[in-house]
């Protein structure tokens, strides 16, 4: 486009541009400007010298991450947890949405409210709720276990139980919102389809299987693809507060986000922390491109770009 055409194009769409401005500014400030800071990962950052003045050190800041097993561990944890959160939430939210649709409408609002409430709690609050269950001395779970004649379990020191605990807590908190989205999707399904099915003699189960699920498939796929984009971005609050940032459980709870936080706050080394951050962004980028490529191969319409 020539200059003249560009300005005419902007002029014609000025309302739309204005509307998008806040989002553009937000992305620019929060995502593009800080991107420059990635150079810190290759420097020995000293506060008095500044980002540009500090000495270049090549890949030295990445050494500590790859010398230990940490790189593998946090990468594995981040991906596995996110995959499992994604699948669990989708399956259970679908189930709940269908159930909500099938039951009588009398208590519907109550069920919805009860389920969506946890969504608005902060992780810090949730961490105290989980602690009430898991505390070694006074927790409910250990109380029940001893009442039933079992040994107490040291939940906060046993790395093996945490994949289950984290999944349950995550599901509890996120299911309300996801179920609501699917429920809205179900409400949008043309009632005539159900009517036709009923006339053909379909039973409830058959209607769910042959009408509801196929009609929801596009929505499910879109939501799945969107969450793949966030696959490498762990839920910091969940993984930091719920296990109480306890050393003994790092092997199964530590994700890239919590690792970066600790690297910066306990080592106080900005360069090393941003090296890990850059690693996260890089792998995340690769992952999104790969996911999109796969989706494109299967069904071009559903791909993001």
């Amino acid at each position: 486009m020539r200059r003249n055409q560009v300005s005419r194009f902007i002029g014609r769409n000025i309302e739309l541009f204005t509307f998008s401005l806040p989002a553009v500014i937000y992305i620019f400030v929060m995502a593009y400007v800080p991107m420059f800071g990635a150079v810190i990962a290759f420097k020995n950052y000293e506060y008095d010298k500044g980002i540009l003045g500090s000495d270049w050190v090549g890949f030295q800041n990445f050494e500590f991450l790859f010398k230990s097993e940490n790189a593998f561990r946090i990468t594995r944890n981040t991906i596995l947890y996110n995959v499992s959160y994604m699948l669990m939430t989708t399956i259970f939210a679908l189930l709940v949405a269908i159930l909500l649709h099938e039951i009588s409408k009398k208590w519907l609002k109550l069920y919805q409210t009860a389920m969506i409430l946890p969504f608005f709690l902060s992780w810090v609050v949730v961490s105290y709720i989980t602690m009430a269950f898991l505390d070694h001395q006074n927790g409910f779970l250990n109380g029940w276990l001893t009442a039933l004649g079992f040994e107490k379990v040291q939940w906060y020191f046993d790395a093996h139980v945490w994949p289950y605990i984290l999944n349950v807590v995550h599901l509890w908190k996120s299911i309300g919102f996801s179920a609501l989205v699917y429920f809205a999707g179900i409400l949008g399904i043309d009632a005539e389809l159900y009517e036709a099915a009923r006339i053909d003699g379909a039973r409830r189960w058959q209607m769910i299987w042959n009408v509801t699920i196929p009609q929801l498939t596009p929505l499910i796929i879109i939501l799945l693809i969107l969450s793949i984009g966030n696959m490498f971005r762990g839920d910091f609050g969940l993984h930091y507060f719920i296990p109480n940032n306890n050393g003994m459980t790092y092997s199964t709870t530590d994700i890239i986000d919590t690792y970066i936080y600790r690297a910066l706050s306990t080592l106080g080394d900005v360069s090393m922390a941003s090296a890990v951050g850059l690693y996260q962004s890089f792998v995340g980028f690769v992952l999104v491109v790969a996911a999109n490529f796969t989706v494109r191969k299967i069904n071009e319409e559903n791909s993001l770009f």
């Binding site: 300005s7 005419r8 902007i10 002029g11 014609r12 000025i14 309302e15 541009f17 204005t18 401005l21 500014i25 620019f28 400030v29 400007v33 950052y45 000293e46 506060y47 008095d48 010298k49 500044g50 980002i51 540009l52 003045g53 500090s54 030295q60 050494e63 500590f64 010398k67 230990s68 097993e69 940490n70 505390d135 070694h136 001395q137 040291q154 906060y156 020191f157 109480n244 306890n246 050393g247 003994m248 790092y250 092997s251 600790r262 690297a263 910066l264 706050s265 306990t266 080592l267 106080g268 080394d269 900005v270 090393m272």
Partner: protein, 520 residues
């Protein structure tokens, strides 16, 4: 400008209308809007980049035009505290009345809880937040690391001119401890500069069970007493701890470099010593017997172990004179007695210092203020104990009675400055200050005094060893997990993290230092 067309309008109408509106936009507002948008964008970019510019280009130390007190300034002081004080505001105002009159300055006191001090200050330093005075030490918010990173401003040139009385008030030994590569960064607080790892025992139990404190020479000797408590006092934790009580010095190992005292070969010991292993075994046996609080490894702050007053015994690495009174108020109001386990050894003044931040716009005034804190009895006691008549009352002589619930209570005289200026809380030994001075002078010096390990070449290994320690050390040192199972894992992880490399590097630097000192 937006035009909405009813569904009744014809296609023709719509086209015409949209053309009109586009033309109008271009003619009247289009150009202006664009210019406004561009300007806004430009300003935004400038603002964002401007905000980062000091991070980008580094900032030279600010030179203030007038070092005198003609211009009023505000100073910001970050230091750690045990818990937030309700009356901080009032105390701050009282402080400002003094400082305003004497230095034409005001101070903003910014205490941060001990547990999060390191993390908050790391973030604060990384974001170039303006600050004037930052408390630092060798054990919390490491002064050497941060001096190397450029957080502090060297003050040797300013001291003689702006804080001559402060300069004269401390012995050279103290000043030398705050120096790095010839630059004076730290301004030490005069306090106990020696450590005397001790057991702290609640008197009520010691008396009840007839404990002979004199018979306790090493930490194992307390075990029979713990057993009595466990059996006789339900609801009381016999031994309260958060990080266990392993210290090299308890086992005849030097405190500056992990080498056996008087070892002629000067061999640097590995991270996990035989002594540490047997210590972990001992703690584990105590844990299994129920002597140790079950939540030990999940507690964050040392004082969490005894602050409820339900721990009969705990371990204190410093054992300084007068800490009985501090523990009494911190530990639920019960009298305690200190049982030192090791003869005092000189650790230097590095355990509590204040430094001038590089981001300070008024380093001169900040120094003048620190001089005032360290030499003005009224100001110093105000910072430590609060307002007279409200937070404490004077009793006999230099003694005062504190009210920990009155709204201001720090219990950290050593954070602010020279403790020789302080009033003594009731329960302190009358000769607390004399004892402090005496111990400082008598304490045994490390054979490696003056040696400073430079970790720059093993940065990655140090970071990883630290990560391993965060994962395993607390659980092992408190006996929460079985050392038979976890010690081998811990050792293996340390090895993988490169602890051997660090030991070798330390040995190399030590040998060089010994050679340069003519000791080897």
């Amino acid at each position: 400008m937006a035009k909405w067309h009813g569904s009744g309008a014809s296609v023709q109408d719509r086209k015409r209308a949209s053309k009109r509106s586009a033309l109008a936009a271009r003619a009247s507002t289009g150009a202006t809007t664009r210019r406004i948008l561009l300007a806004a964008f430009g300003m935004l970019t400038a603002a964002v980049l401007g905000g980062c510019s000091s991070a980008l280009f580094g900032s030279d130390m600010e030179e203030s035009g007038e070092p005198g007190t003609a211009k009023p300034v505000e100073l910001v002081w970050y230091y750690p505290e045990y818990e937030a004080n309700a009356d901080l505001e009032q105390v701050n105002e009282a402080v400002n009345r003094i400082v305003k009159a004497k230095l034409n300055a005001t101070v903003r006191l910014m205490p941060i809880e001990f547990g999060s001090y390191e993390q908050k200050m790391n973030t604060l330093a990384a974001s170039n937040e303006p600050a004037d005075i930052i408390w630092t030490s060798n054990w919390l918010f490491s002064w050497t690391d941060n001096a190397k990173r450029g957080v502090f401003r060297p003050v040797q040139e300013l001291l003689p001119e702006f804080a001559p009385r402060l300069l004269a008030s401390l012995p050279d030994r103290f000043w030398n401890d705050g120096k790095l590569n010839g630059n004076q960064y730290g301004i030490p607080s005069y306090q106990i500069a020696a450590m005397r790892p001790s057991l702290v025992i609640q008197k009520r139990f010691a008396d009840k069970y007839g404990l002979d404190a004199g018979s306790i020479r090493k930490i194992e000797d307390i075990e029979p007493f713990l057993k009595l408590i466990k059996e006789g006092e339900p609801g009381i934790v016999p031994f309260g701890t958060t990080r266990g009580f392993y210290m090299n010095t308890l086992y005849g190992i030097d405190w500056r470099v992990p080498v056996y005292l008087d070892d002629p070969s000067h061999t640097v010991l590995p991270d996990v010593t035989e002594e540490m292993k047997s210590n972990f075994e001992l703690v584990r046996s105590w844990y299994v017997k129920g002597y140790i609080n079950e939540d030990a490894a999940t507690l964050r702050e040392a004082s969490d172990a005894y602050s409820k007053g339900n721990a009969a015994v705990w371990f204190d690495p410093t054992g300084k004179p007068g800490s009985e009174a501090e523990f009494k108020t911190m530990g639920g109001g019960y009298d305690v007695q200190l049982v030192p386990l090791v003869a005092p050894y000189f650790t230097g003044a590095v355990s509590s210092m204040n430094a001038i931040s590089r981001t300070s716009k008024n380093p001169e005034r900040a120094l003048m203020f620190l001089e005032l804190v360290n030499t003005d009895k009224e100001l110093y006691n105000l910072l430590v104990y609060g307002i007279e008549g409200k937070h404490y009352v004077k009793t006999v002589g230099n003694f005062i009675r504190l009210d920990p619930d009155a709204g201001y209570y720090t219990n950290t005289d050593w954070v602010f400055g020279d403790i020789r200026n302080e009033y003594l809380p009731e329960g302190s030994p009358a000769d607390k200050l004399e004892q402090t001075v005496r111990i400082n002078e008598e304490a045994r010096l490390s054979s490696y005094a003056g040696f400073e390990f430079d970790g720059e070449s093993v940065k990655a290994e140090l970071a990883n060893v630290r990560a391993v320690n965060e994962e395993y050390y607390g659980a092992l040192a408190t006996g929460t997990v079985d050392p038979d199972e976890y010690l081998p894992i811990y050792e293996e992880q340390l090895k993988k993290a490169g602890s051997d490399v660090i030991v070798a590097e330390k040995q190399r630097q030590l040998n060089e230092w010994l050679a340069s000192q003519g000791l080897k």
